[in-house]
Symmetry: C2
Subunit: 131 residues, 2 copies
DNA sequence: ATAACTGTATTAACTCAATTAATACAGTTG
DNA sequence: CAACTGTATTAATTGAGTTAATACAGTTAT
């Protein structure tokens, strides 16, 4: 279900990490769900298991999934709401950069809020259309 | 005036591009202002003129500055408010990623708006404290 | 004109992250 | 035992970013 974008400049393993996290946010992947095995996903995407493994290890480091040797990888049921000041500073810097780009692209604060609302709507858990 | 952050994972030339754009947004650099020459800035930052040149070429491509051979580089007086759909899509993807991270960090939409307001206040043109 | 600045361009070398490939080891399940 | 799982390692490749050393061309002040 994760789609790789060749035009995306982010590394493949980062795209995988972000893709899984997006599906968790949207509720497509729920706590306890088993996700594709490393070799399965690697086969589907025609990439090496090594790259998928790296993505899964990063996801486990972020406590998004839990890896069990011999069994598979499962969505974690405990969201890591640590609210670290370090993470906030990192996000604030990213957001500042985005606001600057937003400005140079000719858009204002109001339009930014509009798009954010649109994004939050898209990220709403889709309980009804679950598969 | 541009400060390089060694902990920042972005390439140096990207940090330079973003740094200049931030100063333009803040009004610290005004249209027509001449910025440091390639060799001057390279000397201040102890990096090769090549890297600064790359940043300046990118800034000229984005129409943030104008380079004049033999003279120097000047802040452009015409903001490039092209409002391209392509740029909007790029920014929307970045913003979506940020919202996902924001969520996993344990923060909500309201707190996002708060931080955005804080950022927009910091980016307000500082007409009084100009140098 | 000469010196000392500017931007621009080119070439080569180096470093590092990302990716691939191949292989091996260890735990689980039917 | 076979066929899955995750984990680990090593080697090779690719590409971006950076550095260094030049060279060339336009501008400005003396």
């Amino acid at each position: 279900m994760v789609i790789l974008n060749l035009h995306d400049k982010r590394p493949i393993y980062v795209q995988l990490v972000d893709g899984i996290k997006e599906q968790v946010i949207k509720g497509i992947l729920k706590p306890g769900d088993q996700i594709l095995s490393i070799r399965q996903l690697a086969g589907q995407l025609s990439i090496t298991p090594n790259t998928v493994s790296r993505a899964y290890q990063e996801l486990e480091r972020q406590k998004v999934i839990i890896s069990v040797k011999g069994k598979g990888n499962y969505i974690n049921d405990v969201p890591n709401f640590k609210r670290s000041e370090e993470k906030m500073e990192e996000l604030k810097k990213l957001l500042t950069q985005l606001c600057i780009e937003w400005n140079f692209a000719g858009y204002n604060r109001g339009e930014l809020i509009e798009v954010i609302d649109e994004i939050y709507n898209n990220l709403k858990k889709e309980e009804s259309t679950c598969q």
